[in-house]
């Protein structure tokens, strides 16, 4: 148990609760609403009037063929891309002129495609950066290493270690990410996103590069997380998306073509046409089988 260990508030809580702030038993209450988001790069429309709501405690899936605009929408939610039109609210407050560095302070964490770990910093230091916003000492006292910042530093370290051990990666704390297997790096990146106890977690293709059983574990983990935070998930692995998501929004060529529960989305002919057909074709390509137009009638 790390020094930050909290008495678990309810019988059903898992060990993961330990990374959360002291008020662990509050229900997730924040929702992200994106309304009529349009993004144009020059003359190219990347997103056209896309709307979605990530309800508190929900896992919201965002799917669509390559180039559908999923990543662009993610970047809008992160303040990396500013929408040409449309509105975004978070916890009922409008988010205008959002900048990436404000995310952490708003209680939003994002993981990246790939892992995005800092190569020259240890695993523990990588995770400590994720908890950055929890440190309270000001710029000056941290710069001159005053006692307050020293205490902060120890808290940060303990918090990061707890987050690592929740994801079963604590034994790698002192190593550099470059030397670790890819799935372990993914766990570390996830620990870095979770260490700040966010209210909304943006997961960008968390299952890429994972083996079947690791993906299953990830699915379980995401379901557990939804007890404490909302999750917006971009993912290509359909079985994972269908298993863990409460609602799904489907994009194709920058337009929203369907939204609903996994069952509704699976039954939607537009989705079958635009997405699943392509998916099957892609899988056939990957398997090395001959591509046929017949692939389109799958699903």
């Amino acid at each position: 148990m790390g020094p930050l260990a909290q008495p678990t508030p309810t019988a059903g809580s898992t060990a993961i609760d330990r990374t959360a702030a002291p008020d662990t038993d509050r229900a997730p209450s924040a929702s992200l609403e994106m309304t009529g988001i349009t993004v144009a790069f020059g003359g190219v429309i990347a997103l056209s009037e896309v709307s979605l709501v990530v309800e508190p405690g929900q896992v919201h899936g965002l799917i669509g063929p390559n180039g559908a605009g999923k990543t662009t929408l993610f970047n809008v939610a992160c303040g990396i891309v500013r929408p040409t039109a449309g509105e975004m609210t978070w916890r009922g407050q409008p988010l205008r002129r959002l900048k990436p560095h404000q995310l952490a302070g708003l209680g939003i964490s994002r993981t990246l495609q790939g892992v995005g770990l800092f190569p020259g910093m240890t695993v523990l230091e990588n995770v400590m950066i994720g908890a950055h916003r929890h440190a309270r000492a000001g710029f000056g006292s941290a710069l001159f290493a005053l006692p307050r910042s020293d205490r902060d530093e120890r808290e940060l370290r303990a918090r990061a270690l707890a987050a690592l051990s929740d994801l079963g990666a604590q034994q790698h704390a002192g190593r550099y990410p470059g030397g670790l297997p890819y799935p372990v790096q993914k766990r570390v990146a996830l620990a870095r996103a979770l260490v700040s106890a966010p209210d909304l977690l943006l997961l960008d293709e968390p299952a890429s590069g994972l083996a079947e059983d690791e993906m299953h574990e990830l699915g379980e983990l995401i379901r557990t997380l939804s007890g404490r935070m909302s999750v917006l998930l971009v993912e290509h692995h359909m079985d994972l998306v269908m298993r863990v998501c409460d609602r799904i929004t489907v994009l194709d060529s920058g337009r929203q073509i369907a939204a609903g529960t996994p069952a509704e989305v699976q039954a939607d002919p537009a989705v079958t046409e635009a997405y699943l057909g392509d998916e099957v074709t892609a899988e056939e390509d990957a398997a090395g089988t001959t591509r046929t137009d017949g692939g389109r009638h799958h699903g």
Partner: protein, 294 residues
């Protein structure tokens, strides 16, 4: 034997200053991928501020503190005003900007302080310690130089390894976009990095000036030596910069002590070392990766 010891001691003392200056270059290279050719002029400017204070009757120590603080401010201002617009752009732009700054600051020094040679005092004596019957080339002033550089390096290690700000600065250096997403104020970290580098550079300038004559261009050779030391160490590695500085200091001291008319060859020797390193190990002596950008 005694001669060898003396040449070595001189080399180590000089090498310490090269290390400090190389470290300043490496700090900036790591965080912004820019080689700051203006580092020497910036250090010269703060040295002249110190000299003006000393000539006005202030103590060396007051002048030192004021000079280092003005280095901090100067570094921050330069990053904010001049470097920020070219950060992340084509590398050549940043090179030209720092070269322009190098010339501009030097000219400004000449305008404000004049271009005459002026002697710069030392806080401690320049007479070597007595060991047995011999005086060795280690002077109280060189002890001060070595101690000042070592303390500065120790402080930097503490800052980068053990403080939250240091952690954030390293994160900004390794991946700006990711650091930003994690809530790090990357812009502030870059400004702080330039400011700290300017302080270290200023310290090197003040130390090398001690007991010598200063004039607006007196740092020109030091920027060459500092750059060679930084490249020796691989430009990306602070430890490499320190070791590179010491190696260079020793090498140049041996050239000047053992080669006939060697003191005239010191600058040439530094450039020859630079060429050899770039030809044989372009990544530096401590390179872990195969190739370096730029």
């Amino acid at each position: 034997m005694q001669y060898f010891v003396n040449v070595t001691l001189t080399g180590l003392t000089e090498g310490m200053v090269y290390s400090a200056f190389a470290l300043a270059l490496v700090l900036i290279w790591r965080s912004t991928r820019i080689v700051n050719f203006a580092q020497g002029s910036m250090a010269a400017a703060t040295t002249f501020i110190a000299l003006a204070l000393i000539q006005a009757g202030q103590s060396y120590w007051v002048a030192l503190v004021v000079a280092l603080l003005s280095g901090l401010v100067l570094g921050a201002i330069v990053e904010r005003v001049v470097i920020r617009p070219v950060e992340g752009g084509p590398e050549l732009n940043a090179v030209i900007v720092t070269l322009g700054l190098f010339v501009a600051i030097q000219a400004a020094i000449a305008i404000v302080f004049g271009s005459a040679f002026q002697s710069f005092p030392t806080p401690f004596g320049l007479e070597g310690f007595q060991v047995g019957d011999n005086r060795i080339a280690l002077t109280p002033n060189s002890v001060w130089v070595i101690a000042a550089v070592l303390v500065t390096m120790a402080l930097l290690v503490v800052l980068f390894r053990f403080t939250r700000i240091g952690l954030a600065m390293r994160a900004s250096a390794f991946g700006q976009e990711v650091a930003r997403l994690l809530g790090v104020r990357v812009g502030r970290m870059l400004t702080l990095g330039w400011a700290l580098a300017a302080v270290v550079g200023s310290l090197a300038g003040l130390l090398i000036a001690g007991g010598e004559f200063v004039y607006p261009a007196y740092m020109d050779s030091l920027i060459v030596f500092g750059f060679v030391a930084a490249v020796l160490g691989g430009l990306d590695s602070p430890i490499g910069a320190i070791v590179g500085g010491l190696i260079l200091g020793l090498a140049l001291s041996y050239v000047s002590g053992y080669v006939e008319r060697g003191s005239a060859l010191v600058n040439v020797a530094a450039l020859v070392i630079l060429m050899i390193v770039l030809l044989v190990r372009p990544g530096g002596l401590f390179a872990s990766s195969t190739a370096r950008r730029a």
